[in-house]
Symmetry: C2
């Protein structure tokens, strides 16, 4: 009952790191579900055989990464992707007047194909690996502003095409339907000219400057979950970054 963590006598990482990793593994395997309240610090300390202060340090680290949410007087809860505060963690486009909202989405294609060499490299897939290729157009104020392609490793998204409707917030779908939590992402931005296809999809002249966002999203286990390329009109919007 006690030695949940320190079973082997010699451990290189500090205790609170090991405690954190034990907690992350509970998030990965679903023993702790989104929205669920965690045991109290005291209970976790007893259960894991460490002091409350060490549990606190691990929980604070999870909270800093937005994996759990802590509320004084209430408890500690597993983060939910639908939660308002987190909706914009991975969506950095903002209207120039400051209003922030998620654009509506219209799926234009969803097919399973062999992964391209680029997709295999981005997602760490073997030769002949399969992927889902999802394409959609996203609208703000009824205007098409983003042409998006999402590439997913087919093995982690079984029967994705049997989902009735792909929701606007796909990360909520990944979580609820496939048990995959997007923990962090890396984006690369460039300015590119709209191709003829972009121009048709976005209703702008060919050659129009577009903000290209190339994203790889990673799960709790640090494995790539999604490769996404968004091509955005930025006449009335900007991509916001906080450098701290």
């Amino acid at each position: 009952m006690e030695a949940e963590i320190s079973e082997t006598a010699f451990e290189l990482r500090p205790l609170y790191r090991q405690v954190r990793e034990a907690m992350v593994s509970r998030l990965i395997d679903g023993r702790w579900q989104p929205g669920q309240m965690l045991p109290s610090e005291q209970q976790l300390a007893v259960e894991m055989g460490v002091s409350q202060g060490t549990v606190r340090k691990a929980l604070d680290s999870l909270a800093a990464d937005n994996l759990v949410m802590r509320r004084q007087g209430r408890g500690t809860f597993v983060a939910e992707p639908e939660e308002g505060r987190l909706l914009f963690k991975f969506f950095k486009l903002t209207a120039d007047d400051g209003r922030r909202r998620l654009p509506d989405s219209t799926v234009t294609a969803l097919v399973k194909t062999k992964a391209s060499a680029a997709a295999r490299a981005k997602l760490g897939l073997p030769p002949r690996g399969l992927v889902w290729d999802l394409r959609r157009t996203r609208f703000l104020d009824g205007q098409p502003v983003i042409a998006e392609e999402i590439v997913l490793p087919a093995g982690r998204f079984p029967a994705l095409d049997r989902v009735e409707t792909v929701p606007n917030n796909v990360y909520a779908l990944y979580s609820a339907r496939f048990g995959l939590t997007v923990a962090h992402a890396v984006e690369r931005l460039k300015a590119v000219a709209a191709t003829a296809a972009d121009a048709e999809q976005l209703g702008c002249p060919a050659g129009t400057p577009l903000l290209l966002i190339d994203r790889i999203a990673y799960g709790l286990d640090e494995a790539p979950i999604e490769w996404r390329v968004s091509r955005c009109l930025t006449d009335a919007f900007h991509y916001g970054v906080d450098l701290k």
Copy 2:
């Protein structure tokens, strides 16, 4: 000697916040200079009349914001803008092959003028406020890749035009010459078409898509220090963002 912090009995913010603010004010007024070693946690605890744990929490918070650097066995040091690790805190452009280096710079103009309405809004200046307007071209591999305009409130940069040479890393200049530390910045990115002036400066056709970076940089006192607009060719480079 003791009650450096809790002079008044009632304070709303937690102690470690007050300790942090006392420390930040020492950074602002120059009692703690860049590169300088801070007193040990124990000394600070005694001096400020709090426990070592509270001092540690304040110092950890400063370290998280890259305002100080902590090294086990050595001590805690005020961050220096020239330090390698910090050079890229505010420069997010990376070569597509992964190499990171700061581009060379050539100043094309440096004049003191009345601030435009836009500049007054960005920098929080009064009507008829004065600014420095610095323009430069930045090169990577000998190729011009960034056309940059930097607008500075003249009041905080006296005799800027008497600086012999404006260094490539202007934030080191702000620190060494004017005692101004850039603590954080907010950037807005868009894709725009190169104007005729851009085209001439960067040696590209007019209409070429450019990544526009609009940055406001803030000092330790949270007042704006700099407004900067960079227009970047991103054929061989990208702007990297880590979403965590």
